[in-house]
Amino acid sequence: MASANTAVVIAVDNDAAGGKQTPEERRQAERMIEALLFASSEPLSAADLAARLPEGTDIQAPLRDLQQLYASRGVNLVQVAGKWCFRTAGDLSFLLSRQAVEQKKLSRAAMETLAIIAYHQPVTRAEIEEIRGVATSKGTLDLLLETGWIRMRGRRRAPGRPVTYGTTEAFLTHFGLDTVGDLPGLDELKGAGLLDSRISAGFSIPEPHAGDELTEDEDPLEEDEFRAELAETDEPGG
C-alpha cells in the first residue's frame, strides 16, 4: 500500500512540473520541439527552445520522450555541449560518405618496379634498384602497395635484414594470370618482339617464385614490424 501511495505522489509532482498538460498538449509540445530542432541551423539549448515556444510549455518531458522515440531511428536526438540537435545515427554514418573512384595510370618507373617484383620475387628494394640501374623512390613502392598488387613477404636473411616484396592474388586477378609462373619467359618475350633476339647469351629471366610460403632465405615479418611498415607507407611518398 505504501508503494502505491508513493506512486501517486510522484504522479502529482510530475503533473505540477508539466504545468498540468493534457496528453494533447504534450503531443503538441513534442511536435513543436521536433520542428524547431529540425529547422534550426544550430543546436538549441532548452532555454532557446523555451524562448520560442508558447509560454509555459514544458520542455524537459517532451525532450526526453523525443530522445527515446528517435533513439532507435535513423536520426537521433542528441545533446552536444548542452544543446539539442538531430544527428544521423552513428551506425549509419557510412551513408554520408561517397567514394569517388579516380582512374590512375602507373608511371613507367612504377610499371618497371612492379614487373621486376613479379619476375624476381621475393626481391628486396636494393635488388630492384640493381636490376633497374636507378634508385627506387619510397613513393613508388608505397604506390604499388596501395594498388594492392604487391605486398611485403618477409625479411631476407642477410645483413640489414631487408624486406622482401612479392605480388598478390589481386595482381594475378588484374593481369589475368593463373600463377606468376604464367608470366612469359625469355623465349616468349623474344618471340613477342619485346626483347631483342640478339641479346647476349648470358641474359636470363628468372623463374618467379609463386607460393605464399617463405623461401629458405626469408624470415617472416614480425607482426609489429608489419604494422610499422604499413604505417610508414601511409606517409606521402618521399
Partner: protein, 278 residues
C-alpha cells in the same frame, strides 16, 4: 499599400499599366486602381453581387459605359484601351438589344458569353494566385533541415595496367641494362678540385718553409693530366688561402707559385722565399 521604392518599384510593387498624372483629383484614384478595362469590368461585375456565371452582361456593359461617361464628364483623361472597350461594349449592347440577323456570326449572345468567360477566367486566376501565395511556402511556412549533414566524398584511386604494359616495361628495362653492362666507356682523366684540395692539405702542413707548388704536384703531372692537375691545384690552393690555412706567394707574373703552411710558420715574421729556413 507600401510606398514604392525607387528602382525596385516596377518589379516588386503593384503593377499599374496606367501612368497616373500628377495633377489628378481624388476621384481618379478609383480609375487608377484598375489594371485595365477587364479589371474594371470585373470590379463592376462584383457590384452585381451574383455569381459570375449568371451575371447580366447587358447590365454590366451599361455600368461600364456609365462609368466611363462619368469620368469623361469630369474631363479626365481615359486611356485608349478603356475607350476601345467602351466602344466594343456599346456595339455588344446594340447587338444584344436589336433583333439578330440570320447570317451574323458570332451572335450577340456568343459575344456576351465570351466576355463572361474572360471575366470568369480572370477571376479564377486571381483566386489561384491568392491560393498559391497563401499556400505553405518553403522558407516562409515550412522549412527544410536547418543543418543538413554534408555527404563526404572519399577519393579512392583505382589503377589499371595491362599485361602488355607490364611486359613491355620489364623487357625494355632489362634489355637496356643488359646493353649498358657490355659498353666500356673510356673514363675521362681529370684531377678533381677535391683531390687537389685533399693532397694540398695533407702535404703543405708538413713543410714549414716556402715550397714551389709544382714540387707537390710532380707525382701527378703525367702528360695527359698536366692541364687538369695544374688547374685544380691552383683552384684548391686559392680556396685554402681564403680559408686562412696556407699562404701563397708569387714574385712576378708567370713566376713559380710558392706555398707554405700558415700556422706552422706563424712565429716567423718575414714571409719571403729568400728569407731561407726557419
Amino acid at each position: 499599400m507600401t510606398e514604392p521604392h525607387a528602382g525596385q518599384a516596377e518589379m516588386w510593387e503593384t503593377y499599374r499599366p496606367l501612368a497616373p498624372s500628377s495633377d489628378e483629383p481624388a476621384l481618379v484614384v478609383d480609375v487608377d486602381g484598375f489594371e485595365g478595362p477587364l479589371d474594371l469590368l470585373l470590379s463592376l461585375a462584383r457590384t452585381q453581387k451574383v455569381d459570375l456565371t449568371r451575371i447580366s452582361i447587358l447590365a454590366l456593359a451599361e455600368q461600364y459605359l456609365a462609368f466611363i461617361e462619368e469620368v469623361r464628364k469630369l474631363r479626365l483623361e481615359v486611356a485608349a484601351d478603356y475607350l476601345v472597350m467602351a466602344a466594343w461594349l456599346a456595339y455588344l449592347k446594340s447587338r444584344l438589344l436589336l433583333p439578330e440577323e440570320e447570317d451574323e456570326e458570332p451572335t450577340g449572345e456568343e459575344l456576351a458569353a465570351a466576355l463572361a468567360f474572360r471575366l470568369q477566367r480572370l477571376e479564377a486566376m486571381r483566386e489561384a494566385a491568392a491560393r498559391l501565395a497563401n499556400s505553405n511556402r518553403l522558407g516562409r511556412d515550412v522549412f527544410a533541415r536547418g543543418a543538413p549533414e554534408p555527404i563526404e566524398i572519399v577519393r579512392k584511386s583505382e589503377f589499371s595496367a595491362t599485361l602488355y604494359d607490364l611486359l613491355t616495361a620489364y623487357a625494355a628495362r632489362r634489355q637496356e641494362m643488359a646493353a649498358l653492362a657490355v659498353v666500356h666507356m673510356k673514363r675521362r682523366q681529370v684531377w678533381s678540385l677535391n683531390e687537389a684540395r685533399e693532397m694540398l692539405s695533407r702535404l703543405v702542413g708538413r713543410i714549414a718553409d716556402w715550397t714551389p707548388l709544382h714540387v707537390f704536384l710532380s707525382p701527378y703531372l703525367t702528360p695527359e693530366m698536366r692541364a687538369s692537375v695544374t688547374a685544380s691545384a691552383f683552384g684548391a690552393s686559392l680556396e685554402l688561402v681564403r680559408e686562412g690555412r696556407i699562404l701563397l706567394r708569387q714574385t712576378e707574373p708567370f713566376a713559380p707559385l710558392y706555398v707554405r703552411d700558415r700556422v706552422a710558420v706563424a712565429p716567423v715574421q718575414s714571409p719571403s722565399p729568400e728569407a731561407g729556413n726557419g
